[in-house]
Amino acid sequence: MQAQNLQLDGAIDAIRLRFGSHALTRAAELPSPQPWPSRTPIDSLTGIGGLPRGRLSLLTGSGTCGKLSLALALLAHATHEFAHATVIDGGGFDPWNLLPFSPELSALTVVRAPAPEIAGEAAATLARAGAGFILLMSEVPEHWLGPIESGANRSGTVLVGVVDAPGRALAHASSFSLALSRTEWVWERGQLIGIQVMARCLKNRVAPPLGETALEIRYPLGARPPSDHLVHVIEAHVDVQEVAQCVSAVV
């Protein structure tokens, strides 16, 4: 291990000597973007205490892994925090699903984008205009990722994307990527009440990446009026493994 560290330090020094001191920077030394505290356990995974403003965060994972529930929890919280929380929807979003999270519907806008091109343009326009929170639930063409990123960066918009598996361009454009995988269903008295999920940080450009954590997502139950419903996203047992040192190349 010692020898490996020495070799790694030697390689870093060589790169810095050849390409300049800024060619390779420790992630901890990079200026971190402003965080938006989402009040969900993923705040602890970003390393800055919240989702990064002006950057794209991705929630990824296969079906029924809890990524949409987590995204809806974030969206509902954003409707209370921002004047405009926007969903760029490719055709699968129903506001009904958001009600258990007690959103402030007056702050919610849904952009129905029948084509990825429209989704891209709408996201870029709204990010540039300074929408507080944008939830991307649609494919976005590669050429719109740059304008979306720069627009969000300028205005400090919190951008969250929900995809099963991101394409290379989307993965590259993201600054924080979280992979969710269901570990087990949660049953109580023979009734399904939620899921246990493992959330793993795949990519983090805003802070040294932290490992993973277990989440428990509770579904709304019973015939209560929607306003009484509350979906809980709680940290089951915190098991955050910190990576000792991380080096990130700045291009």
Partner: protein, 379 residues
């Protein structure tokens, strides 16, 4: 009031960044020195002295003729670059940039950004001062190291030991102050404004107030120009529509860059085609929401050109933006928590609706939430 001052040296000197680090004197023969670089100070050269005398004192200096027009362009460039950092920005040819950052939520960010933008525009690290008013901020900046900020909490205390020749008075008035034994600003501050007014006239009153740190002068806010245009003259008259579109896109790019720099948007767009028969054809429109990006500008202008059928080959293409949006609305960075962007977001949504139809943007409002039919639950 909380004013940040950035000192960069006279803007005439910024015209010749290649001469940075060498003695430079700006002025016309038989006239006075307009500006002199820091490197000439050790030889006793001062702004306002006769150029012949300056040449005698520092013969090795490079002498450059002043160009007021070019300096005004640099001043506009610097003003535009600083415009969105503070509600009030004033830039003077002497190389003084004042930003009134009172009430700015992220004052530290504004000051850092001001430093970077001045460095980018002028090519030299500015000296920065932060004080309760423009006078004390300028004196603080003059005493800061390049690229560093000197903060002044109590203006009177800071000004007290400084020499009284820092006051904006003419040579005769300064000599009178000297004869009166008022050699520091602290000494001037002990004299009442009315007493000094009786000695030096109106300037005396102002000087007494300045020495007390009371800052009687207000900044004159820079206002971005409300008209801009771009044009291209063709060597050979153009008939090809694709060529016109290509040029129009490039011009839209230039205009969008300029609008971005000013933080403005176009409320009216005019396109003029000068054709071979020395006639012109034009089309113009008032837009509902200000256009500022290439996509928005070219979206409109491109659609016009696509269906335009000029009577003869085009010799010149003009894109004019005669009415720019009132600038005050676009200082978005100054708003805390993004509150100021609400209007912009609503305008952006309406633009999306204009482009892709009303149904694209939807604000869900609960209707029959208990309905088993999803489409009935929300209006």
């Amino acid at each position: 009031m909380r004013v940040c001052c950035g000192l960069t040296g006279h803007l005439e000197l910024a015209r010749r960044p290649d001469l940075y680090g060498t003695p430079v004197i700006i002025g016309r023969w038989d006239e006075h020195v307009v500006a002199a670089s820091e490197e000439t100070l050790q030889f006793g050269v001062e702004t306002g002295m006769a150029l012949r005398q300056a040449e005698h004192l520092c013969p090795q200096a490079t002498f450059v003729l002043p160009d007021e027009e070019a300096t005004a362009r640099i001043r506009e460039l610097v003003s535009a670059a600083l415009y969105d950092l503070a509600p009030v920005v004033e830039v003077r040819d002497e190389g003084i940039a004042w930003l009134d950052i009172s009430g700015v939520a992220t004052a530290g960010q504004s000051i850092r950004a001001a430093r970077h933008r001045l460095l980018k525009a002028i090519g030299r690290e500015p000296r920065l001062g932060l004080a309760p008013g423009p006078f004390s901020a300028r004196l603080a900046a003059a005493r800061a190291r390049p690229g560093r900020l000197l903060r002044v909490a109590d203006a009177r205390e800071f000004l007290a030991p400084l020499p009284s020749r820092e006051l904006p008075l003419d040579a005769e008035q300064l000599e009178r102050l000297d004869l009166l034994g008022l050699r520091t600003l602290g000494a001037v501050a002990t004299i009442g404004p009315r007493e000094l007014e009786s000695q030096l006239g109106r300037d005396g009153r102002r000087a007494a107030l300045l020495a007390r740190g009371l800052e009687p002068d207000q900044l004159v806010p820079w206002q971005p120009p409300l008209f801009t245009s771009a044009h291209r003259q063709f060597a050979d008259p153009v008939e090809d529509r694709e060529a016109l579109l290509f040029v129009a896109r490039a011009l839209c790019g230039d205009l969008a860059e300029e609008l971005g720099l000013r933080g403005a948007g176009a409320k009216q767009v005019r396109v003029r085609l000068l054709i071979e028969s020395s006639d012109e054809e034009k089309r113009e429109s008032v837009v509902r929401h200000p256009l500022s990006s290439v996509v928005e500008l070219f979206g409109l202008i491109g659609s016009w050109i696509k269906e335009w059928q000029p009577r003869a080959p085009v010799t010149e293409l003009w894109i004019e933006l005669p009415v720019l949006e009132a600038a005050g609305r676009r200082q978005l960075r100054l708003w805390a928590g993004g509150d100021g962007t609400s209007e912009e977001v609503i305008a952006a949504m309406e633009r999306i609706q204009e482009r892709f139809g009303e149904a694209v943007v939807h604000r869900p409002e609960p209707a029959f939430l208990t309905s088993p039919i999803p489409s009935e639950r929300f209006a």
